[in-house]
Each structure stands twice: as C-alpha cells, then as structure tokens.
Amino acid sequence: MTQSFFNFQFSIPGMVGFLLALTACFLWWLIRIRQQRMEFPILRILRPRPSYKPKLALLKPPLIPFLSFLAIALSILIFLLKPKVVSIEPIDATGSKVHLFIDMSPSISGKTSLEEYIQEVSQIWLQLIQTKHITLSTSHSDEIWNADNQQDLEKKLYNLNFHRSGASLGSIIAKQWKIINGVDRLIVISDKDAHSWKNFNWAYLQKDTDLWFNPVGENFLKQSNFYFVKAKHLSPPASTVMDWDISIARKGSHNEASGVLEVSLSDQVLASVPWTMNSDQKELTLRVSWPSTSTPSFEGSPPPLVWKIKPNEQDAMLIDNEFRTSLKGMEQNIILVAESGGEQSLEGPSHALQASLKILGIVPERFEWVSSNKLKAESYPLWILFIGEHDDPSPYCPASLVSHRLEPKLIAKPVRTWLIPYVSNKKSFQNICWCYHKLQVAPYSGSTMPPFCQEVYDRNSLAVVLKSIGAKQLGGEVGSEFSALAWTGTDEKSLLSTLAFTIPIRPSRAFGITHSQLPLIVKGLLAQSGFFADGADQLREVWPRISDNVKNKVWFGETLDQTETLKYKLSNVPAGESLMKEIEKKHLPPHWQNSQEVSKAIPNQKKVQENPLPWIYALLGIILLASVAELIWQIRKQRSVKASSLLILMGVFLAQEKNCYAEINLAILSNRNHGGAAGLELEVSSRTSLKISKSPIQFANFNDRLLEEPWLWAQSIESIRDEKGHLKQQVGRWIRRGGLLIIQNSKAPNELETLTKKGFDYQKIPAHWRPIPPDHELMRSFYLLDALPTCDGSIWHGFMFDNRLAILAVPYELLSTLLDSRIRNQCTEPPTRERNLRIFINTLMVALTTDYKKDQIHMREILKRLQ
C-alpha cells in the first residue's frame, strides 16, 4: 500500500478534476473574502460622522517640488555622514619620511643596559637608512636631528644617556609632532612602561601617520627594584644633630633583602645605615642621624645631600637608587634688617626678637640696612625688617623684594616678610604703610610715598589704610580692626607674603608683651607664616621628581643658570618609573613580533587627507538650486505670494549678522553735569544680576532720546512740564506706553496734581496721586524697606496709572548722591548712601518689571531663591 501510494501517477481526468476543484476552491475563497454589502436606505438622509481616522490618500506629488525635496533630503543625509578623510596612495619607498623616536626614560634602564639599547636602536636605524628622509628624536628634549652614520648615532645616544626625570610619551611626542610637521611613518622605540604610556592617545596620531611601536626589554629578568619613597627632615634649623626619616620601598620579589643606606655630601659620606627588609615587606622607614658639626661648610649655595640605596642583591634599576635632597640646618636662612641700637644695643627693639629666634633654634643673619640688589629675595625664606622713622625707608624695604613680586619666576618659591615698626610713632607707621604698598600693591617700583600713606598718623589709621588696600587682619578681636596685631597679604604669583605689624615686637608693658611671652608669640607667627613647613615639602621645591620631561623649563626655551640646570638634570626619578609596571599589548600601537620584521618599517604607501570642502560646497549648491526651483514653482502656482516671497528671499540674501544686546541706561534730564556712573554700576552689578551703563544719557533740555529708555530721571518738575504746568505731551504718551518718570526735588503736591490734570483719561483708566504706602512694590521689589526717607517733612508720592507706578515724586535728589560726582544731599537729615542705593535698586526693579512678585510666573524662582 505504501509503495503504491508513493508511486501515484496522475491521469488526465484526474488532473482535470483536480484543477476544477482547485478553481472552485479559489472561487469560493474569492467569494469568501469579498466584502459583503447591504442596502440601508436611511443612509441617504443621515450623515453620521464616524470617529475613525480618514483614509490616507496617496496623491501623486507635483514633480518639481518632489525632486527639490528629494535633492535637499539626500544632500542633508550626506551632510550627516561622517566624513572619511583618509585614502591610501602608493609612494616611492625611497622618498618616504620616517621618524624614529627613542625613549630614554629611567624605566628602560631597568630592563636593558645602555649599550644593548643603543645597539638595538642602531640596528633599526640601519634597516631604515635606505629611505632618504629619516629623522630622530629622544625623550631628552624637543630636538629633531639626523645621524650621518652609525657611529654618530651611537655616540650621541651615549652622551645623552638615560635621563632621571620621567617621560610621558603623549606630551613629549605631541610637542615634537608640531616640529616634525608630519611624516609617513612614526616609529616609537620604548618599553611598555605604564607610567610612560599613561594618557597617550596614540590612536589619534594614526589618522595622520602610520604609527609603529618597537618594544624593548621584553625578555628582561624580573628582579627587585629598590627606590626612595620620601625623605623628611626632622631637626629644627639650628639643631646640633641632623635627623632624617627616609622611606624606601621595593617592587618585585618578596624575599628577604638587606643593604645599606648611605648619605653623602660632596662625596663625603655623612652616615651609613644598614637595613633589612623582611619577606613580604614592601616599604621601610629608616632614621638617619649625624652631628651637624660633621657637615662641611660651603660658600654660596651648598650641594645636595645624595642618598643611596646599596642593596646586597641585584637591583633592576640603578638610576633610582640615588635620591637628592637639599641640605638643611645650620643655615642662616632668616635675614633680619634693623638699625643698630648703638651703645644701648641690648635695649634695641630687635635684640629681644633675635633672642627669641635663637631660643627656637634659628640664628638670623643680621644687617643694619640693605642697600643693593645682591641679596636675592628667594635666598631667604623670611625677611624681618624693622622700619624706623627715616625719610627714605628704602634700605629697610629692599628693592630685591619688590622686583621679586613684579618679575615672578615660573616656579616661585615662597618668601615671607615681616614689617615691624622700630618705634611706635607716626613716621614709622607711614613707612610701614609705604613698604607694604610697595611689596603687595604697587604696580611699579615707585620712589614717592603714596598720598594715603601720608595720611597715616597712628596705629588705628594704619589699620584703616592697610585694610582699604586689601590686607587681612591678624590677631586682635574679630570685628575690631583697631585691635589687630598685624595685617597680612600675599601675592599669589610670586608667593611673596607680607606681615605688617602695628606694634613693635618687643617686651613692653604698654602692649602687654612680656619677656616670657615673646618667644611663644614669635613661634606662633613663624608657624602662621608657614616657616615650619614639612621638610619634604621644601624638598619638592628644590629637588623635584619631574614626571614629564616637557614640564622641564628647557623645553619651553628658557635659559637657566648652571645651578638650576643641574637641579633639573639631577632631578629625582619619579615613583611611577620605579614601579616598572607594564601595560597590556592590546593598549599599545601595532608592533613587530621580532626584529626580522623591522624591514616592514619602510613604508610604500602613505595616507592622504582629502579635503571635504568641495563636497560641502557642491551639496550646498544643490540645496540652493533645489530651493530656488521650488520657490519659482510656488510663485508660478500662487501668484499672490510672488511679491512677498521675492522680498523674503532678497531679505535672506541681504541680511547681515548683527549682535543684539540689551543695556539699561540712566536717562537723566538735568542742567547739572553728574559725571559717570561707574561706582553705581559696580554696586548694582555686585548686588543684583543687572548691569547698568556706566555712561548715563544726560541732557540739559528735554530731548526725545530720553524717552527711548524705560525710565527718566528729571532733576526737577520744571523740566518736564509746559507753560501751564501740565505734563509735556510726548512725556505723557511715553508714560502711557509704559515709561516710569522719576521727578526729584518734588516738594509741592499741588504741582503734581496740576501736572497730570491733562493727558490721562481718568474715566477709562483709573489714575491718581497718593503717598507711597508701606506695602507698595517699591518697598519690596528687591530690598525690604521699612520706610522711604523724608526730606524736611516732604514725603514720596506716586502717580498710579493703569494699576502701576507711572510717576514717582522724590522729595530730594536721590540720583545725584549716587553718581560719580556725588552731590551732597541738601536735606537736614540726609539718608545714608546705603539707604539711597537700596531705594535706587528697588526703583530699578520696579521700572523694569513693575510688581513682578505679583506675577505667579516668577513664584517658582522666588521660592527657589528663598530656599
């Protein structure tokens, strides 16, 4: 049965029957899917509005607009595409440019020797030499150079050696890339050190050039690396024993390690401390001490202390086993300039201070005066200057300090100055004021005393003047400037700080300073000045760890003196390099697997950047043409829009860009010159978010220009009324449009009634004069005012028109007291400037916003500010 079923054969009648059945099924299906229709006669009368959406009618669009739309849509679509700017073009291999960047950072020294490294670089250079243009650079500087032969190359690299500062490849190559000005291939020879590759977005360079990376030191044995973490000087400056805390650490193996820590000065070993590091111990702090007497003395600036780790086992990186710090202690790093007391030297004002400093272990270097620029400001972190009653105080206020502030260095060193009055009298205080002004404020080194210093006559007036020129109070009671011990200020650029004392710093019953208190006071003042800063902080200033060579001043073309050059050259190795941490291969540029592949470094193709501008212009042209075609079609179809469309089109082409801005001007009608409004502008802008113009618009006689502003300040009622005492017509129109008129010196209410008798339709719009009530918006638009000041019994009146303040009658000259000319208020009891200022700001708010607090739309912002 199964076989016969699968071997079924079609006969002709069977076929016909099958086809007929198929046709019948198809017809049945057609009938089935046919929409059933039925007559419903009442529909000839009723027109029910069905709620379903009408059918979408597909209409054939007009040809020209459709084509225009299509062209514009396609153009915009192309605009949205990301421009592909790079194409590859074959080039002659001998004409291609290759740049070889050689990393000489400390981390490489831990993985290969200098000789091996130079040999590897030399081999790569030899394989690339067939290209005509090959340039080289190292991480030492931004110098781009060529090597004539292999010996030249090796010699130069030998001379350069590894540098002690770090190398951030990103910043170094970015700096050099500007000088190279594009090459076909850039080869970076470096290790995989994480510190070096940190923040290097090398993928960015790949769009301009072929970037290849040649890794070195891949097969180095991973040994322990010992390095310095920090060095902290503990002893006070005049201590007889030098105490240092030195922290060393290791990276790598976890076996027990030992060695010696040695400190030397000019090749003379000062101390040697053995150390042992247990297994799994990563860091160790050692106390190193030696007598101060064993420290040799030097003329001028002393050489650095050199700390060396000498481990008993092999160390991976030797370059970071040396650490340099500056010599501390036994330094006369405080200068004291004071006039000699002569025979009564023990009673001199500086004697007690010197004794206090010695108690604190500081021996200051004393001068009677300083007359030359030889003493550099940064040589002494603290200058104590006793200023007496000399006509010329310059010897006690050295010019080197002034020039230190006026010509600050890139890496500034903090310099502190104390200005102490030699005696408590007028001249001393004046000289202190002058010196403070020279050290902190004066834009140039002047030789005459400023006038405000000449007005100083006692301690209190000195306090007032110093406060007014920006000094901050030190000591005394809060809020009582006259009780201040001193006034201080710091110049941020040069880090020159000045402490100007208002009393002589010596034991005195008059000033309440006893002999026992003085050392404590001096110690506190030194601490406040930052003199007792952490030793490590000072260390960083002098012998820094430079993490990036580009941060070196030499890279910016600055010339340094020999000492500074030496300090940068011998800068301490950054901790990041000592860690010898490597990054994964996937985060590095493509690199060769072995040295045989170096020959691939010869490029035979280069990237060419296509200029996309022609494409952009072409697309813009298409859009423009399509727009014009559609416009013409529209005009031909709808003739009525022809004129307006052409005008709009012309307007578009003729339109010019113009900046728009809004400015609040003071419109003043007065026959008196009020000067500028700089002071008022400063006050308004500092208190509110508004800014008024510094130059008021002022006219002596009435001018229509005045009515272009939202408010008008009239000096008197006469200037805005006609012969009959009525308001001028144009002013009336301006008020009805929304202007606010402020009439000053208005003391006669009868005149005000007459003023507005004509020009306002009282029947249609309610308008009336009334005294300004306490709940008026003028009293709360910005500041909350309890009352408006009267002037000899005259009060403020307001003309309420259209439910707003339209005219404000002020009984005195409010504006004149606030402008730069500052005319004195003629009232018997004039209000303070602050009160006038607050009223002015409230009036400004009313003029611009009327009673904006009534408008609910501002409620959200008001509540936000209240919170």
Partner: protein, 305 residues
C-alpha cells in the same frame, strides 16, 4: 381595563378590520352614524351624553331645568349633527418602503417591511372612516413616478377585507398588481382629512397637498432596524443606492453616538416641518404597541369636541 391582549401586541399584528378597541365615543359599531364631520348648528337634546356646563351666552332653551332642580347647577344639553367627511389616505410605494427585505437578519428572523405596516395602517384607517360614514380614498403613491399613482375608493368594509386578503396572500409583495386600484395622477380635491404614511426618505409632497385639507396627519413610519443598530454586522458594508455613494462599515456605524444623534435630529426637523403646516406628526415603527397606536387615533378624533 386596557390590560387585554393588546397590551403586548405590536403594530406588525394590526388587523385592519378590528376597530373594537378604539375608545372614542364617536366610533360606533352601528351604521347609524352619518360621518365624522360635525355640523356647526346646535340643537337641544335629551341625551345626557351631550351635556356640558352652562357658559354665559348659551341659549336658554338648551338648559336642562330638571337637572338644575336636582343638582342646583346649570347644565346645557346640546347636540351637533354629523356629516360625512372626505378623507384621503396615502401611503408610499417606494424601494425604501419595501425595506427590510428580510436578508438583514436572515430568513428566520425576518421582520415585516415598512410597506406591510403602512398597508395595514392605511386599510385600518380606511375601515375606521367607512364605519363612521365618511368617504375614504386610498392612494398608493410612487415618489419616483407620481404619474403611476394608484387610487381605490372602498364603498363598504367588505371591499377592504377583500383587498387585505389579496395583499396578504401575495405576502405584501410590491411587484404584484393590486386589484381594485386604478392608475391615476395625483388629483386631490378639497379634503376634510389627509393621512400620509411614509418613511420620509423620499419626498415631502405631503406638505404641499395638506394645504387642501382641513386636517392633516403625517405618520412617520420607520423600521425598528433603523432605530437600533445592534443588528449591524461589523465587517459588512452598508450603503444607499441613490444619491451620494456613501458606504459605511457596520462597526463604524455602531461606533459612538453619531448615528443616533443624526437620527434624532432628523426626526425632530421633520416633526417641526409637519407641525409647521398645521398637521400632526405621529412616529411609528412595527414595534409600536397597538395601544399606543390606538391612543394616537383617539387623539385625532377627540379634537372633534
């Protein structure tokens, strides 16, 4: 009591020959009536059915003094003679009246067409007036072709019975020829009453012709299928073959209240038009209760008072 079999009977079961349930006092079963038209002249009568309270100005001879002696109230007994009136009853013969065709709900649930109901009403009214002694003409009106209007003037109730039986036998088929009717263009002389039975979908010739009649009555007959749309099939298209080609899917017609609002508005508009020409408007469907129908008829004759 009216709670007889009529309380649930509908217009679709109206028998033209049955006038028993009419309550009007003017409709009698005897043949002594002289018509539904009352004469203006009044005369005294002893019959208490013609009594009414005395109104100042009434002739004194009409006062029933004996009743005054009994009840101490003046009662007038007056009688107005009746006269035979001329009545025309028109019902439409149009495709819209020949609807529903029976296909709407299927053969099993077929409901009578509007023409059937209109025929029953027309013959019933004609029988009523014959019994009152009036002269009633029956008109079959073709709105599309008024030249082919048919008219029949029955002389006695048996003529109506014979006609009704013939139509019933033909199952109210509009295509078969009707006996007794003669083809005649519309010529309606001055009438006392004009009844017009129509669905209002074709024309409003009634408003023109009713001006010749003293009284008019427009019986607006719709099918219950036009009043309620629940029977519509969602995916079926409903259309009208005349006028604009409006087609609606059943589900769209049923959606919302738009149809019912339109229907109500149209009926109100028609009512105002009919009343505007001084006629009465009576809305009917085949589901209208017979009691309601009889109340309408009674109200027509109560105006005779």
């Amino acid at each position: 009591m009216q709670t007889s079999y009529l309380s649930h009977a509908q217009l679709s079961s109206l028998n033209p020959m049955d006038i028993r349930e009419l309550r009007s006092q003017f409709i009698k079963t005897s043949m002594q009536m002289h018509g539904s038209q009352l004469m203006a002249l009044k005369r005294a009568s002893k019959s208490p059915e013609y009594s009414r309270p005395y109104i100042s100005g009434d002739p004194i001879n009409l006062i029933d003094w004996k009743a005054y002696a009994r009840t101490d109230s003046l009662i007038v007994r007056e009688k107005r003679d009746e006269a035979s009136s001329k009545v025309s009853i028109v019902w439409e013969l149009s495709p819209s009246m020949d609807w529903p065709t029976g296909l709407e709900l299927g053969k099993q649930k077929a409901i009578p067409s509007k023409f059937e109901i209109a025929t029953r009403i027309a013959l019933h009214l004609s029988h009523l007036h014959l019994r009152l002694g009036d002269q009633a003409n029956l008109w079959l009106h073709h709105p599309m072709n008024s030249e082919n209007n048919l008219v029949f003037s029955p002389r006695q109730p048996s003529d109506l019975l014979s006609l009704f039986n013939t139509i019933l036998k033909n199952k109210f088929n509009t295509q078969t020829s009707l006996p007794f009717f003669a083809k005649r263009p519309f010529h309606i002389p001055k009438l006392d009453r004009l009844y017009w039975i129509s669905d209002g979908l074709n024309d409003l010739t009634f408003t023109k012709l009713v001006k010749k009649a003293k009284r008019g009555c427009f019986m607006h007959l719709l099918s219950s299928l036009e009043e309620e749309l629940e029977w519509l099939k969602d995916d079926c298209c409903y259309f009208d073959h005349t006028g604009e080609k409006n087609e609606f899917l059943g589900k769209n017609l049923k959606k919302g209240k738009s149809y019912y609002q339109e229907l109500s508005s149209w009926k109100q508009q028609l009512k105002e038009t009919v009343q505007g020409v001084g006629s009465q408007y009576i809305p009917l469907t085949e589901r209208t209760a017979l009691t309601t129908y009889y109340q309408f008829i009674d109200s027509l004759f109560e105006n005779k008072k």
